[in-house]
């Protein structure tokens, strides 16, 4: 009797088990070519899936571009995307699974610093090289792990760069800061605030919002009442663009400034004509300016039927840097499959990669020496915005 009641359960289990039957094996060869896997870890579901998917797609494109070169060497590249759901726990468990797959030589990963930090502990233990396209928190590389790298700028570079531009070039004196209480947004906003204070600006308010909500009028009316010259927003476009829109609706026409989280076509879609007068800082140069960038955007559109986002270029560059490292490691190893350790060393050693979004050269901590900051401004309600200036690291 008992067993009879267990039948549905057993049936489901059997089904689940049957379905995974194929995936126990990894590595091996395909058509005489040895398989090299690059894993991506980014949120593919949940609130920030647009960004996570952009990263995955960018990496996919990089693999497609390099496929031929690797085929010649006798290897086949395969992308293995994982969904970290923006959840540190899930990120760590995926990291374990990725580390267990011997064919994986490197990871493009993590949108959120909060997921990147614990997951990178696992990569470090397994000598697996990680390049993050988007995790900007200082703690990501300040732990000085030998496998952890990033192509994007640190919060304590991007935030002050924005503050410098706002105060010295735009000449604002009173600033109201809003941040989204995520490691990314708070880190950026705090770095901006500290630099702005140093430069003599008055901070009229420093308020937090909740990610996922849509009504920020409470904070916006507070900002409006304080009569600032500029609103700075630390966070991502989904909330940032709404804040811009709601500020415009309350009659605030002052400039608003944000970080690279605002660098998305969706910003314009959400805020509409209100986006005029919004500045943002980013490490991605204007993709449409260079021949390479235009080609990339066209290929991206053709493959995924989506417009390229700032993060897709980062994703592409992260994967491309890793592939360059792997290719160097293969050459060094006489054409044989290199160890993960060798790949990690080769990736850290990269000094002259010239990518779509940025040049890459890693310093001792894994930060990108070349990370330049560009300041953009929306003059019209069209994405991408117009480049104003570029700031190089001191």
């Amino acid at each position: 009797m008992r067993l009879k009641r267990m039948i549905p359960l057993l049936a489901i289990l059997a089904l689940a088990v049957g379905l995974i039957a194929g995936c126990g094996k990894s590595g091996g060869s395909a058509g005489g070519l040895k398989v090299i896997k690059i894993a991506t870890q980014s949120p593919l579901s949940g609130g920030s899936a647009t960004l996570g998917e952009a990263i995955k797609n960018g990496a996919q494109l990089a693999l497609d571009d390099q496929q031929k070169a690797f085929n010649k060497k006798g290897y086949k590249l395969v992308l293995s995307p994982y969904d970290d759901m923006g959840d540190p726990k899930k990120g760590v468990s995926n990291a374990q699974a990725i580390s267990a797959d011997n064919a994986v030589l490197a990871v493009v990963g993590h949108l959120n610093s909060g997921v990147a930090i614990p997951s990178s502990q696992v990569y470090q233990k397994n000598n697996l090289s990680m390049v993050s396209p988007a995790a900007t928190a200082t703690a990501v590389t300040d732990r000085e792990l030998s496998t952890v790298n990033r192509v994007c700028a640190r919060d304590d570079f991007q935030g002050p760069a924005g503050a410098n531009y706002a105060i010295k070039t735009l000449g604002v004196k009173k600033i109201f800061i809003i941040q989204d209480k995520t490691p990314y947004g708070s880190g950026l906003a705090a770095a901006f605030r500290d630099e702005a204070k140093k430069l003599g600006a008055t901070i009229l308010g420093y308020e937090g919002i909740t990610v996922g909500e849509k009504d920020f009028s409470g904070v916006v009316s507070k900002a409006a009442a304080a009569k600032p010259d500029l609103i700075y927003f630390g966070g991502v476009y989904a909330e940032g663009a709404l804040i811009v829109k709601q500020a415009r609706a309350q009659g605030l026409t002052i400039p608003v400034m944000g970080g690279d989280g605002m660098d998305s076509s969706t910003s314009v879609q959400i805020a509409g004509s209100g986006i005029k007068g919004v500045y943002y800082s980013t490490v991605v140069g204007d993709v449409t300016k260079t021949e390479k960038g235009r080609k990339f955007a066209a290929a991206y559109k053709a493959k995924f039927k989506k417009n390229v986002e700032g993060y897709s270029a980062y994703g592409y560059d992260s994967a491309a840097v890793l592939l360059e490292g792997i290719s160097k490691a293969i050459d060094k190893n006489g054409g044989k499959l290199p160890t993960r350790q060798a790949v990690a060393t080769a990736v850290r050693g990269i000094q002259d990669y010239d990518g779509i979004a940025t040049k890459v050269a890693f310093d001792g901590k894994g930060d990108n020496k070349f990370a330049k900051i560009y300041i953009y401004k929306f003059d019209k309600a069209v994405y991408p915005a117009t480049e104003q200036t570029e700031i190089t690291k001191k």
Binding site: L13, I20, L44, S45, S99, A100, K125, K181, G187
Partner: protein, 429 residues
């Protein structure tokens, strides 16, 4: 015919033992050989469930079960490169099982619906997180932090105690509200804890706010640093055994019976002399302490914590484990937690990876919007509905202790006859 044979088999202890031993050996050997196969791992774990249904002496079952999860599984899995990955899932399962057992005391035994249970986990995690990293230096006027890894062991009971204190704090407003009002108060409590932890970087920096606490010291065991999931597995296993022991012991204790009485009819319970306040607070405190202990382990394992691990969704997931398994039923809750964690962290991940490889190699083509890599949550949702519809009382429903009516009657008859023969003896009992 087959049915008869089956019944015969089900009744014969010897046949069962042979069958079970064969099953365990074959699957363990299977995992040993196919070391990276998720299925082999799951099939071996299934032996625990089979063990539960065997008609054996309870003590033997416990000993066998412990042998399988403490020795056989880690050993059989240790051959492959997936070893740490399997053990990581194992550790998570144990962490969540202990939490679900804690929540089971609150919801299943005492009938107090709690939608903010993850708060206690957060309290435990932050307790070790703050003192196990340099964070504590930022607000403590004395002492030197991080505490050495050997002190981690102290933080397990400390986490339990602090979480229990929070449990009692939550309990105080709760004593006035009932039913679903209670649910919303606990939800509010959970959210308040999370938001406060996420913002306590000013005026005094206690939790480092939304930046989280990085570089938490790994524990060490007599000088040996513990960093791999296969080591955390054993820490979690010990706490898990403790949680099971406490939960099963409590279930049939005076306190346990008082909880169930309060759950079934509060007024009747009160009328029969059960102190409501004490009973309910005890449920909150004990339930919370389980999560507090595992919180410390979680912080040490992750080496980084921030408030995003303790959202309202997490609370509901723990509640799902309890209800899915069967409220009030200890084996059910264990199974429920294991199913949810294994599904989410192992089965669905490998399923989607496999499907992605299939579509990448061109066997099936799916549009990008429907790519299987994004489908985990969706499939999980469908499975939840299916489970709930087919097992309406939970995977292993709660059963009241069976009372043999005939036996009781006979006993009563003996007593009565004794009483009739020697009425004076009654007083001497």
């Amino acid at each position: 015919m087959i049915k008869n044979a089956f019944h015969k088999f089900a009744d014969s202890t010897k046949a069962q033992i042979i069958f079970f031993a064969a099953y365990v050996l074959i699957t363990a050997f299977g995992l040993f050989l196919l070391s990276d196969s998720v299925i082999a791992f799951l099939v071996l774990l299934l032996s625990i469930l089979i063990l539960y249904y065997l008609k054996l002496n309870v003590r033997i079952k416990w000993a066998l079960g412990l042998l399988i999860i403490a020795v056989l599984v880690p050993f059989a899995a240790s051959q492959g490169s997936s070893y740490q990955s399997f053990m990581d899932v194992g550790t998570l399962v144990l962490i969540y099982v202990a939490m679900a057992l804690g929540l089971n005391i609150v919801v299943g035994f005492a009938g107090l619906l709690d939608l903010g249970f993850i708060a206690f986990f957060a309290v435990g995690a932050y307790t070790y997180g703050i003192f196990g990293s340099t964070q504590a230096n930022k607000f403590m006027p004395f002492g030197h932090f991080p505490v050495p890894g050997d002190a981690f062991w102290l933080f397990i009971p400390i986490g339990a105690i602090i979480a229990a204190v929070f449990g009692i704090l939550l309990g105080i407003p709760v004593l006035r509200v009932r039913g679903d009002y209670l649910a919303i108060v606990t939800l509010g409590f959970g959210e308040i804890i999370r938001i406060v932890f996420n913002n306590m970087d000013h005026p005094i920096n206690i939790t480092n706010g939304s930046m989280g606490i990085p570089s938490i010291e790994p524990p060490s065991f007599f000088g040996i640093p513990i960093g791999q999931p296969s080591q955390f597995y054993y820490i979690a296993l010990v706490i898990f055994m403790l949680a099971i022991y406490v939960a099963t012991r409590l279930e049939h204790s005076k306190l346990g019976r008082a909880w169930k009485a309060v759950r079934d009819n509060e007024i009747a319970a009160q009328a029969s002399g059960i102190p409501l306040v004490k009973t309910k607070l005890a449920a909150f405190a004990i339930g919370a302490s389980f999560s507090g202990m595992m919180g410390s382990v979680f912080a040490a394992k992750q080496m980084y914590i921030d408030a995003s691990s303790f959202t309202y969704l997490e609370s509901t997931i723990v509640l799902v484990m309890v209800i899915l398994g069967g409220m009030g039923s200890i084996p059910g809750v264990i199974l429920g937690a294991a199913v949810v964690i294994i599904l989410n962290n192992q089965v669905l991940t490998s399923l989607s990876t496999w499907l992605t490889q299939l579509s990448a190699s061109g066997v099936v083509s799916v549009p990008d919007a429907l790519s299987p890599a994004k489908m985990q949550r969706f499939i999980f949702g469908i499975l939840l509905v299916v489970f709930a519809l087919y097992r309406t009382k939970g995977l292993i429903p709660y059963k009241n202790k069976k009372v043999d009516a005939a036996h009781l009657k006979a006993e009563a008859a003996v007593k009565t006859s004794q009483y009739e023969e020697h009425p004076e003896a009654e007083g001497t009992h």
